[in-house]
Structures are given as C-alpha cells and as structure tokens.
Amino acid sequence: MQPIAATDMLSPWNPGVFSLVVYTAVVLVLVGLLLLICARIGKINRTPEKSRPYESGIIPTGDARLRYPAPFFLVAIFFLIFDVESAYIFAWAVACIDLGWRGYLQISFFIIVLLLGLVYVWAKGGLEWGPSLKKKIKN
C-alpha cells in the first residue's frame, strides 16, 4: 500500500491559536449574555405545581427511575459477533496480494458463511426487537 503523497491536492490548513481563541470568546460571551438576559427578564416564580413533572396535566404516578429493559440485547450480541468476524476480513485485506487466489477463495467462503448466518438471523426475526419481535413470534 502506498501512502497518499499528493499534499497539494488538499487545501492548506494551518491550525492557528488566535482564531480559536476569538471564536471561543465570541461563543462564551454570546451564550453568557443570552443566559443573563433571560435570567433578568424572565419572571421566576417557583411553586410546587410548577416544579412538578408535566404529564398531560395529571399528577404523575410512581417513579420514572426504573430498571429499563434492554430489548435490543440480541441485536447487540449479533452486532458484536459480526463485528469481531469482520476483523478477520481486515487482516486478510492487508495481505491479500501475498495470499493470492487461494486466500481469496478461503475468505470468500468465510464471507458466504457469514452472509448465510446473517440471512438466517434476519429471517428468524433476530434483528427485530421490542413489540415487533413479540408480534412476530405470536404470528
């Protein structure tokens, strides 16, 4: 593999500290000013009703801090598996010329097996999650 040598094809970008400082200062001043104006001009009035969470005008029931189910657990596992396996393809790609046709056929076989696995998982509904998965199982 040859490194890209054509440096003049890209625009010259010289990181300068001065423009960064000016930019940061403008952002900070603007945000600060807006916050200050809002805090001054807005009328602040804290009442128990106002501090209550808004839930369509009804007093909420129970806590919102619940253990949240991870229905996409399976999807995450499949992602991991296919991700790790793709690392083999990178390893092959780096040395593909040295490995020749024999290596090419081997990796093709590997990819086909992977694709078959993906099709199987897909068809089985393994990439669905949450309510749609349950409906698929039910039907």
């Binding site: 001054r40 001009i41 807005g42 009328k43 602040i44 009035n45 009442t47 009703e49 106002k50 209550r52 808004y54 839930e55 369509s56 005008g57 009804i58 007093i59 909420p60 029931t61 129970g62 919102a64 619940l66 253990r67 949240y68 189910p69 229905p71 949450g130 309510p131 749609s132 349950k134 409906k135």
Partner: protein
C-alpha cells in the same frame, strides 16, 4: 409609585418597557391546548388561509413549559378544570390567558351541571373572544387585542428589582356573587321569576301543551322477520316477553328483569336473525311521567341490531325502586361494560355481576345521578365552581387504574387529558415495559356536556343547535339523526328537495371531517405538510357551507320537517367548482403520504382489529369496514333518500391502521360522487313540509295567514307538542353510526333523549388494538381510529 421612589431615570425605564414589551408581544407562544369545538377554529388559524405566524405567534407549543399564552378554547368542564389550572401554573412566566368562545367566557349555551360557568372563576383572563365558535379571524383579533394590552405593561421595574410595575395577567379571578353574577335573568330583571314561565322542569306543571290535541304517533307495520322474531320470543319465553305494539320505528318487546339475560343471549346466538350487535344500552327515569301510574320507576332499554337481516330490535326492561338492580350483560357483549357503567353513573341503576361498576362520566367524588329527574339540570341551580374546587378535586391517580404488585416495576404513564395526540379530552393510562404497552386503561367523561339532560328542558326545535356540537367536526350531519327520529315519531313527511339538501350537507361535512382526520393522522405519524394542504380544501368546503347556511362549524341548518331555508343563488357553481378540483387534490395528498415508506411502516400491521371483535364490541363506521365488513347504514337501512344515489361502500380486510386509512380516503371519493349526483338531481319544490303542526312555518306564510302565525308562535315559544311515544333513528355520520332515541311525553320538550355516539363503542376497543404495540404506535392508532370526544362523553 412616585417617580422619586425610583432609582431609575424615568426615560430609561420607559425605553426598557417599550423594548421588552415589543419583544414579548411579537413572540407569543400559545399552548397547543384545546377543550372542544373552539379549538378546531383555533387550529385553523395556524393553517394557510389565516396563518397566525404573521402576528408573531408562530407554532402552538405542546408543553406548558414552552408556552406563555393559554387560549382556553371551548367548554370548561368541572372534571377538566383542575387540569386546566395545573397547566396554567406550569406555564412559563410572565403569561397571559385568552378565553375563547362563549363556553369559556360564561358557560355559553351549556348551563348544565357538568360545566364551569366561565373559566374566569378560577383563572385570570386578559381577553375574551365572543362567538360559538369564534371564527379564525376573531382569534387573530383576540391576539391583536392581547398585544395591545401587553403594550401597556410596565415590566422594567420588576426586572430591575424595583417595587411596582406590571407584567403578565393581573386581572383577579371572579368570585360568584361578588364580582360575577350567574343570575340567568340578566341585570335589571330581578323582579321576574327566575326561570320565566310557570312550566319549568322537571314536571312542567301547568304546561299548555297538556290542553292541546295532536294526532297519535306514527305507526309502522312490522316486516316478516320482525314478526317472526317476536313470535319466536313469545313461544320460547312465554309470559316473560310482551310485545309492545304499535311502535313508530321497529319491533319492541318488554321483558321481565329476571329473564333478560336469557332473552338477550338467545337473540344474539340462536334467533334466526342473529342480533349480534348491542347497539345501545340506556335507561329512562319514569318518575316525572304525565300518567305516572302506567310506568315503572325506571326502564332499561337495549337496542340490538342484526347484521344478517339489517333488522333492529328494542328490548325494554321495567325496573322498580329508587336504586334498582339489573343483571349485567357483560358476559354476552363485552361492550356492555361501559354502557352499564354509564347507566349506573347517570341514572343510579346497579348491575349484578358487572366486573367494575364505577362512575365513568362524572368525576368519582360526584354526588347524585344527573339524569334522574330529581337532579337539577342547570349549573346555575348548583353551587358555583371555585378556585378551591379546581385545586382540590383532582382526577384519580393512575395507580388506581393499573394495579402494581409488590416489587413489580412498570412505568405508569398518563397520556391525556391534555395531550396533542389524544385529539381531545381523554385520558389514557398506559403501563409500559420499556417501550411496549402491557396494559391500557382509559378515563373518559372530561368532555361531558350533559346534552341528554339539556334535551329534557329545551323545546324540540331549540335542541337542534346542541346536536351540531355532539360531533363538532360533522356539523349538519349531526342534525340528521335527531330530526329523523322526531319526524319518525310524529309522522312528518319531508319534501324531496329538503331530503337531498340534507344528503348534500351531510356529505360535505363527511369530506370536511375526513380532511381534518387526514391532516391529524399524518401529523401524528410525523408529517406536518398535509395539514396545510387539507385545510386549504376544507376552507373551500366551509365556504360552501357558509354560502348555504351562514355558519361554518355549527350551521344548525336542519329543521324538523325540512331545512331552515332554500338554497341560495350561486350554490350550484360553488359546488361544481369544488367538485371539479377536489379529486385531483385528493390524489395530491395521497401522493404525499401513500408512497412514503415511513408513513406505511407506521401504519401497516399496527393496531389490528379482528372482524369478530369489531362486531362484539359494537364498532361502527369506517373502523368496522376496515375489518372487512361491508356495513354502511346508507346502504343497509337507507334514510333521507340515500337509496336513490349511486355510490359504493369501500372496505378493506386487514383491520390495521393502514386499512382504516384506505377506507376513509376511498370514502372521500364516494362522497364526491354523491355530492355530484345531488347537484345534478336536485328536485324542485319546498324545502320544508307543508304540515305546520310541528314545523316552524316559512316566514312569508307566517306573515300571510293566521294558521301559520299560530303554529309559528306555538312552535317557537313553548315548542310543538309531539305525540306521546318513542322513536329511534340512526345515521352513518363520518365517524360511524350516530343514533338518537327520543321519547315524548306529549309536551314541547322531549321526555328523554338518548344519543348513541359512535366514539363510545369505537374507543372502548382501544386496548385490543394497542396492548402489545409500542408506545409510539398508540399515537398512530389513535389517529387512525378517528374519534371525537363530545360524542363519547356527550
């Protein structure tokens, strides 16, 4: 405050005031908050023709945290008032309040037990917009008035921590008897009797109708199927079943309370014409009857319908006692659940074996049963609603609807009563496991306007405007079942021209309703654009309606015996122009959403309803037809001359959200066909019946001959005396089957009027559609079912 006490130079303070007020008044953020009909006009103001953005109030905000302007649009119900107050308190400050429409201003035409007589009794109000409902232009005018008011505020002093100054709403709330009078007589009329005439509810003692003669009520001959059913019932159940004859509409039997469940189960499953649908279940308090000795204390009334023969059957059950009991039929029809709860809530009849007999319409703390004759009908006869009530009478906690076992973790989420996507005041209480809905409960009654009680005190003609507001998007289509029922009872012939005008208006309103539905469904699944297109054509329809009737949402145009006036000059060209452009426009909307993969994925396979469930739960209208049942009253039991029109009944088989979408869009195409035919074949002749005994006579006739003058005087003052009897009529209004069951006791008022709204049954099945779907799908399901609250809660 003297200038000396200020440490600010006066000129600087004035400049700061001007600058701040200018910024505030040109960037008002109204909340997306609507209570009833008025909100439709409010929402219209931000669509293309009116475009509220021109006045700096860009987008309606869905959360109170982002809003500083509350437009109280519509009727303020006692059940919703605590919610309104909470939303107001949760809004950003400074904040302003506009009271929109007669109901919010003063209770308007709803002087009834469930309605607060003016939102200013618990919220401070800056600007009142009159009207019922106010037009969109009036909303804009109200906004400009508020902007003028903001100009005069002095916010700078508070901002610089100085005493004095003003910003936001400063008006005090009104207290009954001190700063506000609920006396219906008006100022200067204190010497008169509080209700005017001697004939007052509930018994209308001394009514002059008692001395009048009328012909007997209309009679019908039962057809063979009906006769066979009645004969079979008598043979099978002997003395327990008594036929009621003659009747004005269809077969009626009286059944003893003990055998009623057996009879109903037989009718549903074994009778040759199977009565599969419990169309309606209601009751009548008979305690104020003229001939009291002929009646029991209460009568339960079951209305059944057969899909096989398109026959109807009425089963009446006499009950005795102050708080009688009857057997529940929830085991036969699951839909009886809500109907029986409603009968218990409003009439105090209890049901043995009902799984959950609690109040459904009135709030849980309510005392008494409002549809009992002894209960006062008017809010002005009850104690005033105060700020204290709004702070304390809260809706029940969600945990009461959904039980949680010890250690079980599920999220209970309230969606509504105030939510952009609930399309009105209904509260869904969902139990969530992650995103999935594991349980769904509903609380209705936030929009109960007591129309059934009002019908018992307004004359037969005066009640027509109330019917418009039962389904506020269907306008004149609502008048139809009511006038048909009264005409059926009194045997009034309607001229052919009036019948076609009625059909024409009903179909125009079907289109206008479906256009709103199209916009809201698309909006619910994330597409804002169709809103602006469909409301453009809806305005054209409303212009036509205005040309014909003079009104927009609520024309109150149908009359007993005909319509209010003849068609005006130029009606034909206006409709022909619309008919010429509309089909192409419809294709345009369809192109916007139908080829959109996201729109399809949000709807296909979501919220599936099986045909059998739809039948068992009494689902009607496009929602039923989307399950594959080609049932349309316009075809199966034609009324008002629909049999003369050539149109098809669109159906779909999947029963999911997408099927409901397709059926409604196709219905719009069929409506256009009907409108075209109505324009081409408009018969000449009278627009109101010649028989003036019950109708309001034409004005020229009234001015010319004495008989018409007398009829006019009687019919518009104490109301026509409708013969003693009962009749039921149902129509296919845009959302399904709306039925009116009217009972006359021979007075100018109805003795009992029952409104069967399609939404009541259609919404009761919601858990079947939504449980197991994800929370985002609930919004799509709500949009596709297309219900409206005033016809659920009435």
């Amino acid at each position: 405050m003297t200038p000396k006490a200020s440490s600010l130079p006066g000129r600087f303070e004035g400049a700061a005031d001007t600058l701040i007020n200018w910024s505030r008044r040109n960037s008002l953020w109204p909340m997306f908050f609507g209570l009833s009909c008025c909100f439709v006009e409010e929402a219209t103001t931000f669509t293309s023709r009116y475009d509220i953005a021109r006045f700096g109030a860009e987008v309606l905000r869905p959360s109170p945290r982002q809003a500083d302007l509350l437009i109280v649009s519509g009727t303020v119900f006692k059940k919703i008032a605590p919610v309104v107050l909470r939303l107001y308190e949760q809004m950003a400050e400074p904040k302003w309040v506009i009271s929109m429409g007669s109901c919010a201003n003063s209770g308007g035409m709803y002087d009834v037990y469930s309605v607060v007589q003016g939102v200013d009794q618990f919220l401070p109000v800056d600007v009142y917009i009159p009207g019922c409902p106010p037009r969109p232009e009036a909303v804009l005018s109200g906004l400009l008035t508020l902007q003028e008011k903001i100009k005069s505020e002095k916010p700078a002093r508070a901002i610089f921590n100085l005493p004095g100054g003003t910003q936001g709403t400063q008006t005090p709330i009104r207290v009954d008897g001190q700063t506000k009078s609920r006396d219906p007589r008006g100022p200067g009329m204190a010497g008169t009797a509080i209700r005017g005439a001697s004939a007052t509810p509930v018994d209308f003692f001394d009514s002059r109708s008692d001395g009048m003669w009328t012909p007997p009520p209309a009679r019908v001959e039962l057809n063979e199927d009906e006769q066979a059913t009645v004969a079979l019932l008598q043979e099978r159940f002997g003395d327990a079943v008594q036929p009621v004859a003659p009747t004005s509409d269809y077969a009626t039997v009286q059944v003893t309370p003990k055998r009623v469940t057996d009879v109903l189960r037989f009718l549903k499953t074994e009778a040759p014409s199977r009565f599969q649908r419990l169309d309606d279940l209601t009751a009548v308090d008979e305690s104020a009857r003229r001939n009291r000795q002929h009646y029991p204390d209460f009568t339960l009334v079951y209305h059944l319908l057969s899909y096989d023969t398109a026959d109807r059957l009425r089963v009446k059950v006499p009950l005795t006692g102050d708080a009688p009991r009857a057997d529940s039929v929830t085991a036969i029809w699951p839909s009886a659940d809500w109907y029986e709860r409603e009968v218990f809530d409003l009439l105090g009849i209890r049901f043995n074996g009902h799984p959950n007999l609690r109040r459904i319409i009135m709030p849980d703390h309510w005392q008494g049963h409002p549809l009992q004759k002894v209960y006062p009908g008017r809010a002005t006869d009850l104690p005033p609603y105060t700020l204290d009530d709004a702070q304390n009478k809260q809706p029940l906690d969600g945990g009461i609807y959904i039980r949680r076992d010890e250690g079980e973790e599920k999220l209970i989420l309230n969606i509504g009563p105030h939510h952009v996507s609930t399309h009105g005041l209904i509260r869904y209480i969902a139990a969530l496991d992650g995103e999935e809905i594991t349980d769904l409960k509903m609380e209705i009654g936030y929009h109960h306007r007591g129309v059934e009680k009002i019908a018992e005190r307004q004359t037969w003609h005066q009640f027509i405007p109330y019917t418009d507001r039962v389904d506020y998007l269907a306008g004149a289509a609502n008048n139809l079942p009511y006038v048909l029922a009264v005409e059926k009872l009194a045997g009034i012939e309607v001229p052919a021209r009036a019948q076609v005008i009625r059909v024409l208006l009903s179909e125009l309103f079907r289109l206008s309703n479906h256009l709103v539905w199209f916009a809201t469904l698309a909006h619910d699944v994330g597409a804002m654009t169709p809103n602006f297109y469909t409301f453009r054509e809806r305005e054209i329809i409303l212009d036509i309606v205005e040309l014909i009737t003079g009104g927009r949402l609520h024309p109150s145009w149908l009359r007993i015996g005909g319509v209010a006036a003849d068609l005006p000059d130029g009606w034909q060209t206006a409709i022909e122009k619309f008919v010429a452009i509309f089909p192409r426009r419809l294709d345009e909307y369809e192109a916007l959403v139908r080829r959109n993969p996201i729109f399809k994925m949000r709807l296909q396979g979501i919220g599936r309803l099986r045909a059998q469930d739809a039948v068992d739960w009494g689902v009607t209208g496009p929602n039923l037809r989307a399950c594959g049942i080609a049932w349309d009253l316009r075809k199966k039991r034609p009324y008002s001359g629909y049999e003369k029109f050539d149109f098809e009944v669109p159906t779909a088989t999947e029963g999911d959200c997408y099927a409901r979408y397709r059926v409604r869009v196709e219905e719009m195409r069929q409506s256009i066909r009907i409108i075209e035919q109505a324009v081409q074949n408009m018969p000449p002749g009278r627009y109101v019946t010649e028989d003036y005994r019950y109708a309001v006579p034409k004005r020229p006739d009234m001015l010319r001959d004495i008989e018409s003058l007398i009829h006019h005087f009687v019919n518009v003052t104490r109301g026509p005396k409708i013969p003693r009897g009962q009749a039921h009529a149902a129509c296919e209004i845009p959302r399904g089957e709306q039925g009116y069951y009217v009972i006359s006791d021979g007075l100018g008022y109805s003795y009992r009027t029952r409104v069967r709204g399609p939404g009541f049954a259609n919404v009761q099945v919601m858990p079947l559609l939504a449980v197991g779907e994800s929370i985002a799908d609930l919004i799509a399901i709500i949009g596709s079912v297309d219900y409206i609250l005033p016809d659920i809660d009435r």
